[in-house]
Amino acid sequence: MMKRNLWLLLAVIALAVGPLVYHGKDAEFAGSDNQAEQAITALDPDYKPWAAPLWEPPSGEIESLLFALQAAIGAGLLGYYFGRRRGLAEAGGKPQDHAAH
């Protein structure tokens, strides 16, 4: 199973690296959400967004900090879950949660 997962992960990496190699320096790799924003402005030049975010990350650095935080929280939890399950499986115990107590 581990070998199969390794191949699957390699395929995911290839799918991410492929576009970078293929486009080289001629693509901007801008976010599709921003492209949609531009398309809206092109379709309806008179449209004015009627609400603005309550708070915006003050810089690209802070934004990437928060995105990294989001991924870290998720990955941390996933790692904890599988670590615990694997430990229980190897100890021969049944998966039980004591969190309810």
Partner: protein, 223 residues
Amino acid sequence: MHIMEGYLPAGHCIGWAAASAPFVIVGLRRITRVVREHPQVKMLLAASGAYVFVLSALKLPSVTGSCSHPTGTGLAASLFGPTVTTVLSAIVLLFQALLLAHGGLTTLGANIFSMGIVGPFVAYGLYRGIQAIGLGSAIAIFTAATLGDLATYVTTSFQLAIAFPDPASGIVGAAVKFLGIFAVTQVPLAISEGLLTVVVWNLLSKYSKGELAILSNLSRKAA
């Protein structure tokens, strides 16, 4: 798939919020019931939510020369059903709207509809359907996660096309434009999400047999 704050007319915002609200309510009730009746699956529920957190933070490059991110909802939808996934998606979308200025509060209803409702329902239907015809759970989970992800971005494209029809070619013309931005970019990312979800699925089938058994009984009883 995040429609930015203020980028949908007010009427549309209200309409999508009204459409999404019942699913959130049903999902919350279902989570309460599942956790009360089967406290053993609480950690798997948290892990499924964590998976949505990770995948929706990963902005990946695509063949179109732009970037987008997967949704991560196919796993939770296949395990816990679509409405539970609606709630998980709503939490992630709220986090991103408040802290990342990604998406927005006015567009929350529309974004929940694409990421938390259409995607998970497509994924759940495919997962169940493919298992029922006996093609095996790896193929079922791959197809569910991949096409559920894609369905979310197709939905966003149509939501925007309805709000901003092309002056010459109407809603269809605008849909083609938005699909070009969202859906085409999403194809390789959706495949990546499918592959990653199979990786997690393989780990679950090895280490979490007990929970998977409880959940498969559960979803046979009620979607």
